[in-house]
């Protein structure tokens, strides 16, 4: 059983969202990191890039697998977790805390309401 904190929202493409005011903090779920295995490379967007819902915002790779990252929200990237470069294993060990990837200033904070709850996501992944 993977961790799915109830205070977060989730996308079907296995990203999580933590809402802080009008800023969404985004990463990949515990289930996603388990499925990928040891993460060895992550490619994230530049600060300032504007993302629409479902845009590819980057790539996360394990030794053998490549997985694209999809934006669960619409808005502008205001911060990127640069500490992950060279410390990609953080995504495996702390997917919901130190393994965060992006902060996005939301165009419409209400957009987050349409994402999955923890219960909904657990159903989605069959747990």
């Amino acid at each position: 059983m993977s961790q799915t904190p109830t205070e977060l929202k989730y996308s079907k493409s296995h990203e999580w969202v933590r809402l802080e005011g009008d800023v969404a903090i985004i990463g990949i779920t515990d289930h996603a990191q388990e499925e990928l295995g040891d993460v060895v490379y992550v490619e994230l967007p530049e600060v300032g890039r504007v993302l629409a819902y479902d845009d590819v915002f980057g790539t996360v790779e394990s030794v053998k697998a490549v997985s694209e990252l999809y934006s669960p929200v619409t808005g502008e990237v205001i911060a990127v977790n640069d500490t992950l470069t060279g410390n990609e294993a953080t995504i495996n060990s702390s997917p919901y805390q130190d393994g965060w990837m992006l902060k996005i200033k939301l165009k419409d904070p209400a957009e987050v309401e349409s994402l999955l709850t923890a219960d909904g996501y657990r159903t989605e992944i069959g747990e």
Binding site: D38, V40, Y41, E43, E61, S62, V66, G86
Partner: protein
């Protein structure tokens, strides 16, 4: 997945929390603890692989040597008639392409086992049977009644010596012997696919779980297909369907050394291969390492400037080198070590340079 075959070690893998993937018609463990942990175990200590999915075909009869001489590019007559010697070789088409890469083990004047790729087992059996007419030879697929376990790493031989009824470290590279290992009768061959020392143990399917259990109890780390693929890429060992196929000649795959054009018997593909040998291939297999952190993957395009010079045949993150590495088939004029090239990753050029192969070797 109900139509997938399972090896006799499936239950042991499931108990060890393996993650399974379909591979060449088999449900095989891709990883246990994780690819990085498993690669490290093989490079520093000893790892254990279930490779029972690979095809094992017994070839015997008075004409077995003549038949195999016709089928493979190597000189089978060089293998001792008293047994105990094996050779890496190829089945080639008349047109020169590679049908499969194989290992031929000779037991006696008239008895051999050919180990073939799981993905090619049915094709190889048909190919052998098709060409067996006129030869006094029996071709028997023993894959499902037997098992094959690879024990690889710098501590593989001390571990095997401690469990076997004879000193297996005396067996030469590509030699093999009968041995009882932890009470299980095996054929123990000094071969492998990791760039490390070690052996591959043939036993009955029924005995395999007992042998696997003894080897893990003695400290060997179970490793899946993920680690196996990464280890073989680091060791620049080719994989059928990636570095070679029916449209690739041995000379384009750095396998020309296996082709013995002067052996004292005609063989399938000889005429074409003799002609190809005299015209150097336009593209050949080479190795690259990325300058930055991006990881090259199979199919990615390799360029110098705006010119496409080839593509990646197998790529991975190399845990041993801490960088992305790849086997590539590129313009032969650019393949010498030290050349700057670009790999196109998600539409962006990423700098890399050609390296001498293998990337890693400790055997």
């Amino acid at each position: 997945m109900s139509d997938l075959l399972r090896t006799s070690l499936y239950t042991a893998h499931a108990a060890a929390h393996a993650r399974f993937v379909p591979f060449a018609g088999w449900e095989m463990p891709v990883q246990y603890a994780g690819v990085l942990t498993e690669v490290k175990a093989v490079r520093e200590r000893v790892g254990l692989f279930d490779v029972s999915h690979m095809g094992r075909v017994r070839v015997r009869g008075g004409d077995a040597p003549a038949f195999l001489q016709r089928m493979v590019v190597s000189d089978i007559a060089r293998l001792s008639e008293s047994g105990g010697e094996a050779r890496y070789s190829l089945f080639c088409l008349e047109a020169g392409g590679v049908l499969d890469d194989i290992i031929v083990y000779r037991f006696s004047a008239g008895e051999f086992i050919v180990v073939v790729n799981a993905s090619n087992r049915e094709k190889d059996l048909s190919w052998m049977r098709h060409h067996a007419g006129g030869f006094n030879v029996r071709i028997e697929d023993e894959t499902t009644e037997t098992a094959l376990i690879a024990v690889q790493g710098p501590e593989a031989m001390p571990l095997l010596d401690s469990l076997a009824d004879r000193t297996l470290s005396r067996v030469r590279r590509f030699g093999f012997t009968d041995a009882t290992v932890s009470g299980v009768r095996t054929m123990a061959a000094r071969t492998g696919y990791t760039g490390e020392d070690g052996m591959e143990l043939f036993c009955t399917a029924d005995d395999a779980p007992r042998l696997w259990e003894a080897l893990t109890a003695a400290g060997a780390t179970p490793c899946g297909l993920g680690a196996r693929d990464t280890l073989r890429i680091e060791a620049a060992l080719p994989l059928y369907g990636h570095e070679m196929d029916e449209h690739t000649s041995p000379y384009e795959a750095r396998l020309g050394w296996t082709v013995k054009l002067d052996k004292p018997a005609d063989f399938l593909g000889r005429t074409t291969l003799a002609a190809l040998k005299d015209s150097p291939p336009r593209r050949i297999l080479a190795g690259i390492e990325m300058d930055g952190r991006a990881i090259p993957r199979e199919g990615y395009v390799v360029r110098t400037g705006d010119e496409v010079i080839g593509h990646v045949t197998s790529g991975t993150f190399s845990p041993t080198r801490g960088k992305g590495i790849a086997l590539v088939r590129i313009d032969a004029r650019r393949a010498a070590p030290g050349n700057a090239v670009d790999v196109i990753i998600r539409d962006q050029p990423h700098a890399a340079r050609t390296l001498a192969l293998p990337f890693y070797k400790n055997v």
